[in-house]
Symmetry: C2
Subunit: 208 residues, 2 copies
């Protein structure tokens, strides 16, 4: 670590933290406002984040940093895939419903990243981490012996649809559910998908 990396890291964090504070109290702050709150000069803020999107984008990734890994979450969840996926979903839902503006901001920022790439016209680099995929894979690992690779792959993708920020948006905005019922719906859907995958596997193996 050469030079003054720490100093830079501090002001950068100060800016991102200030952004979160303002978001949580219900604003969509400009760079100037964030700089003010962070007690950093506007010029410096612009040195770190040339435009509001880049600030939002970086804030989005740092929102996902402070959470425990799926390994930790699943540490003592046992081997039952139903319990495991429920653990993951309830954990994520609690976090996301508890901090809704921040997580909607994450979605908002990733959409902006996608548009930026689309405008640039170049090839599309993934705008999202593989976190959700990893989480579902890990939770469903006990099914590796029960399901064919194909079936497991399909199930994984299907389960990815029923929770996370996007599912939060659907349950709240288009279904009009409260957080509790929304979470129940997500868990129920995931369970149903697993149950169905298992019965389908049983059916096809009967046939041969």
């Amino acid at each position: 670590m050469s030079g003054r990396e720490h100093q830079k890291q501090r002001t950068r964090n100060a800016l991102i933290d200030a952004y979160f504070e303002l978001i949580r109290q219900g604003q969509s702050p400009s760079i100037a406002e964030v700089a003010d709150r962070a007690e950093v000069s506007v010029a410096t803020a612009y040195r770190y984040f040339p435009n509001p999107q880049s600030l939002r984008a970086d804030a989005a990734v740092s929102a996902t940093r402070n959470m425990p890994t799926f390994e930790e979450i699943l540490a003592d969840a046992g081997d039952d895939p139903f319990v495991r996926i429920e653990t993951v979903i309830r954990h994520a839902a609690a976090m996301q419903f508890g901090d809704e503006p921040v997580w909607r901001g994450v979605l908002h920022a990733t959409l902006e990243r996608w548009f930026a790439q689309w405008e640039a016209g170049g090839e599309m680099v993934p705008v999202r981490s593989t976190a959700r995929h990893d989480g579902v894979s890990l939770a469903l690992r006990p099914l590796e012996s029960e399901l064919s690779p194909d079936a497991l792959r399909r199930l994984t993708h299907a389960v990815m649809l029923v929770w996370g920020v996007e599912a939060l948006v659907v349950t709240r905005d288009t279904a009009g559910l409260d957080p509790t019922e929304a979470t129940t719906t997500m868990v129920h859907a995931a369970h149903a998908l697993i149950r169905d995958a298992l019965t389908q596997a049983a059916v096809t193996s009967d046939r041969k």
Copy 2:
């Protein structure tokens, strides 16, 4: 219809159309750019849309106007809920994958509407139409006789999670699927949910 409603309607449409054209060719246009493209003066554009969000929001609702109703889509889909939901999902997916920037724009705009309400601090009016709920309800109507109201309600909410713009975003950005496989995944998930709801209903009615 008194006065010059038509004239107003024309310039309004010109603005929204121009916005779509620019979006489709990969830009996130300012009001000035939209006005230019629409051959309308900047001042007039501002008279219709005081800020970029309001333009995006109105464009979002008008994007949903030009599509056939679910009744039309399901007109000759028969009574099989599996076929019916597949019809709806494939139709929506074709449209949304075929015009991805516009539909991502719809999601982006509704997030902005949500944030605007959140900032205002007032009560939260729904930021989305009931279209998806209506579509799923209609497709699943044949199940009204098979499932308890509760079970049908749960199933409806679950199915709502697995298609639409949010599902598009998940399949593409976090799962990395191409449009074809993404659509297959959505249809598969919906079928699995229905299948499971039916078997569960059979199981519980056996018990009594």
